[in-house]
Amino acid sequence: MSEYEGILQLLSWVLIAGGTFFVVIGAIGTLRFPDFWARLHAASVTESAGVILLLAGLCLHAGWTLVSVKLIFIGLFLFITGPTSTHAIANAALVSGLRPKSQSVPTGNPDEYQP
């Protein structure tokens, strides 16, 4: 029994550490990338991998309690709203006329891609 709990504990530590790693990576990406369109992708690393791993790790740590239920709800909610707000920001930027730096033709044929 205690061995089983130890393995769960270790697994939750690994998940939390991994989640923290991806959160920091996403932040470094938002700082390092050259333009808005690239930063969008860096931010979504935090929103997907960081959130999923951290919440899963906390869930394992909490075990079968109401706390886990709350964590799952937070996770589901972020899972739905995260991409929606990313899409809203990207869409607003597109409508306002912001275009990727390294591409001359918007909505172009991929074959006509010019670096």
């Binding site: 991806f22 990576i25 470094i28 990406g29 390092r32 990338f33 050259p34 369109w37 690239a38 969008l40 992708h41 860096a42 979504s44 690393v45 997907s48 991998a49 999923i52 109401l66 239920v69 709350k70 709800f73 899972f79 739905i80 995260g82 991409p83 929606t84 990313t86 899409h87 990207a90 869409n91 597109l94 990727p100 730096k101 390294s102 591409q103 918007p106 909505t107 172009g108 044929n109 991929p110 891609y113 670096p115």
Partner: protein
């Protein structure tokens, strides 16, 4: 009938969230459930808008697992891009056709594209999405077509 189902779901949610079962707090919970039901009835009178969930639950769970794997893969790819010194970015905006029949299916496909880092749905138009990719390669179209097929498979066949 619909209202009873709502009441049961709302009460269940409230009980899961509260965690403290004293008579005063339970009274508050019941009151808030009633308030939400009242608002729902009023809103329903204005427009009878409803979202029909026409998904195969088993297939959807399978798709969810597959999506998590895809998210893991693309996260590693984007992490490599962020950490590499030269940052090999090759941005591209391109059209991706979708084949989902229902609104919900289209939402799931568009959100799946955005959830996998490296691709973001920018604009939705009739018959296709405008997708922005961080490091574009010609395999991307095939990968997205594969995702499109998988989402379409989770939908129930239309009742004719």
């Amino acid at each position: 009938m619909r209202l009873v189902v709502y009441a049961v779901i709302l009460s269940g949610l409230w009980l899961l969230w509260s965690g403290i079962y004293k008579s005063l707090l339970i009274t508050f919970g019941a009151a808030s459930v009633l308030l939400v039901l009242l608002i729902t009835v009023r809103m329903n009178r204005i427009d009878g808008d409803r979202i029909e969930i026409e998904l195969n639950p088993l297939k959807f769970i399978g798709y969810f697992g597959w999506l998590l794997l895809e998210i893991a893969k693309s996260n590693i790819a984007v992490t490599k891009t962020i950490l590499s010194a030269s940052m090999p970015i090759k941005q591209n905006l391109f059209d991706v056709p979708y084949t989902q029949r229902t609104d919900l299916g289209q939402v799931i496909f568009a959100n799946s594209i955005t959830l996998t880092p490296g691709t973001v749905t920018v604009e939705t138009e009739d018959g296709h999405f405008l997708v922005h990719a961080l490091s574009y390669s010609s395999d991307d179209m095939d990968a997205l077509a594969d995702m499109d097929r998988r989402v379409s498979e989770t939908e129930l066949v239309a009742r004719v």
